[in-house]
């Protein structure tokens, strides 16, 4: 057994994978448990694998997900996805096709990202796997192809930034608000090359841990780990050695008091341009998008449905909802959430990434404004470079859809005496 004493979670996982004790800064070649490929980069991955001789070391450890433009939007995409399906079938790779959902959601639902494993994804939001304390990290097509061919990858062992979440979060402040505040405090490159360990989120529901870990990459993190809770739903799936070590050395510590946190928002066009959402009540919104690997889960749809129940989306504002997976969609149909959202005037897209990358299903025109529950608001991200994207959690998204302006649900600031001009009651005609 390797001596894991005094190591961070990232150091422990990589040490186990490399079968030797590793510390931050070491360069290591490690075994990979799961390689995840998405439709948009699969052609390049396949091309590199073929250049390397076409061998795939462990086909059962490679998963292909068709989610980035799903279903296909044009002949070019359809042709590309057709070749990806054929390749997956020929090589015996696991394939999740159109409608199954967003890669990160699907891998966790399917148990392919598990505590203590190393998952490489051809998508930067692979940090999401840290929600189950898997070392999830994004890489480009060449690195992904090399990992599929060799079964291994090379990494520099990251130093760790400990994010210490303290105090009870107000009930109306969601995981997204915490995630955005962490990005604001660290900055978009505050955790570059580093792992994040989120202490204080161990007991959060899986969906919220996923939101938190997902946004870790927006601070530049290589992986974003939530330590396993001893009594979580992960249960016996957690290896004995995967525990926070009191002697572990951290590169830095960010302490965040959650008790005073209010709903957050990232204004255009950088994710760390984070402010109180109530400062933006003058902004009229053409489109509200609830979905993505950040906030497209059942809990997010519940938050939205609770605000939208019995009300109607504002005239002149579109509400697009894209569930993160077919499982999420099924559950939301079964428990009546979809009916509530539909009655409120929402419209729905196929489970997948939706309009997050400006490719289909809700692309923005010049001058339009979108409030999205996604993770990136870069110039031109969702369509025209003359459109603007604001990022927030599902509660602000739903209240905004009702008012047609960026709105913080009134109850979220209950107890905050100063209130703010953005704290209008989320009822039509009451702005």
């Amino acid at each position: 057994m390797i001596d894991l004493r005094g190591l961070t979670l990232a150091e422990k996982i990589l040490s186990v994978k490399a079968a030797r004790r590793l510390r931050a800064g070491d360069l290591a070649v490690v075994e990979v448990d799961q390689v995840m490929v998405v439709d948009s980069v699969a052609p390049a991955v396949m091309r590199v694998i073929d250049r390397l001789g076409g061998e795939i070391r462990h086909p059962e450890r490679v998963t292909v997900v068709v989610d980035h433009v799903s279903p296909a939007s044009n002949v070019e995409v359809a042709t590309s996805q057709k070749s990806v399906r054929e390749y997956a079938r020929r090589h015996g790779l696991r394939l999740f096709d159109v409608g199954r959902g967003i890669c990160h959601q699907v891998l966790i639902e399917e148990g392919l990202a598990r505590p203590g494993t190393l998952v490489l994804g051809a998508d930067s939001h692979s940090t999401t796997y840290g929600a189950v304390c898997a070392f999830g990290t994004g890489m480009g097509a060449t690195d992904i192809a090399l990992a599929a061919t060799s079964g291994r990858t090379w990494l520099r062992v990251p130093a760790t930034v400990r994010v210490s979440l303290q105090g009870r979060r107000p009930s109306a402040v969601g995981a997204k608000d915490v995630a955005l505040e962490v990005v604001r405090r660290l900055g978009a490159d505050g955790a570059t090359y580093a792992a994040i360990e989120y202490h204080g989120a161990e007991a959060w529901p899986l969906s919220e841990r996923m939101t938190l870990a997902n946004m870790g990459v927006e601070a530049g993190a290589k992986c974003a780990l939530v330590p396993p809770a001893p009594t979580s739903e992960q249960g016996s799936d957690v290896p004995e050695w995967l525990r926070v070590d009191q002697e572990a050395e951290y590169a830095s510590v960010l302490e965040l008091d959650l008790t005073m946190l209010t709903p957050r928002l990232a204004a255009p066009a950088q994710v760390d341009n984070v402010h109180g959402a109530d400062e933006f009540s003058e902004i009229r919104v053409d489109q509200v998008f609830i979905g993505t690997c950040t906030n497209g889960r059942l809990d997010d749809l519940h938050v939205a449905a609770d605000i939208l129940r019995g009300r109607r989306v504002a005239e002149g504002t579109r509400l697009l909802i894209v569930p993160a997976s077919s499982e999420v969609l099924q559950a939301a149909v079964d428990d009546g959430t979809m009916a509530t959202l539909l009655a409120a005037g929402a419209t729905f897209g196929t489970p997948g990434c939706g309009p997050c990358m400006g490719r289909h299903m809700g692309v923005l025109a010049p001058g339009e404004v979108c409030l999205s529950t996604g993770n990136r608001n870069f110039l031109g991200r969702m369509g025209s470079p003359d459109a603007s994207v604001y990022l927030a959690g599902p509660a602000v998204a739903a209240a905004t859809a009702l008012n047609g302006r960026i709105t913080v649900p009134a109850e979220t600031l209950a107890g905050n005496e100063t209130g703010g001009s953005g704290t209008v009651e989320p009822v039509i005609g009451h702005a």
């Binding site: 360069l27 250049r51 939007s73 097509a141 060449t142 060799s150 570059t192 990136r376 870069f378 991200r381």
Partner: protein, 182 residues
């Protein structure tokens, strides 16, 4: 004097390269917007959309060997390697920035676009500058003014000596730094 042709001891004249200066936090959506991914617009066309939003003139005006110079956190955002592939298609010579986002940094080196980190060089250059760049020595000159850059780490030099990490793997069937299988 032995019977050999006189060696030209003058260094070959280094190519004049244009500097394309960018600011901080140039993201992968800036480098290649997602809607222009090769699987959406075609493998033969996508590179024409490099910097389509940020600097629409770039793809038409960039010349082989030109240098991209940026500030902090160059390449943040998506893991899309095709952002680097677009720069490769346009034969960008190198990227110099104060710092890089990690996935993009790997992608640059994997596709063989040298990436240099420097605190001082980006501040000393202006957009449109014509410079000479001796990449092997990490020396950049502008009208005789000299700028020095740190060379890439040993691990990568080992890979780049074979061409790229891919070439290294194809030749040795292992990754740089790994012991040969016994």
């Amino acid at each position: 004097m032995p019977d050999v042709p006189t060696m030209n001891i003058e260094e070959p004249r280094l190519q004049q390269r244009r500097v394309w200066l960018f600011g901080d936090a140039v993201n992968t959506d800036d480098i290649l917007p997602g809607k222009y991914a090769p699987f959406m617009v075609g493998e033969d066309r996508f590179h024409r959309f490099a910097f389509a939003h940020l600097r629409p003139e770039f793809a038409a005006e960039v010349r082989p060997g030109d240098l991209l110079v940026g500030g902090r956190n160059w390449g943040l955002g998506s893991s899309r390697e095709y952002a680097v592939q677009a720069l490769k298609e346009l034969e960008v010579g190198a990227v110099i920035a104060r710092s890089f986002a990690r996935i993009h940094f790997r992608n640059l080196l994997n596709l063989g676009i040298p990436a240099f980190t420097s605190d001082t060089v980006p501040a000393g250059l202006a957009d449109g500058d014509l410079v000479e760049f001796d990449m092997a020595r990490g020396v950049l000159t502008r009208s005789g003014e000299r700028f020095e850059l740190d060379p890439p780490p040993i691990f990568l030099q080992e890979a780049l000596a074979e061409g790229s990490i891919l070439d290294y793997y194809r030749k040795h069937r292992r990754l740089p730094g790994e012991k040969p299988a016994s």
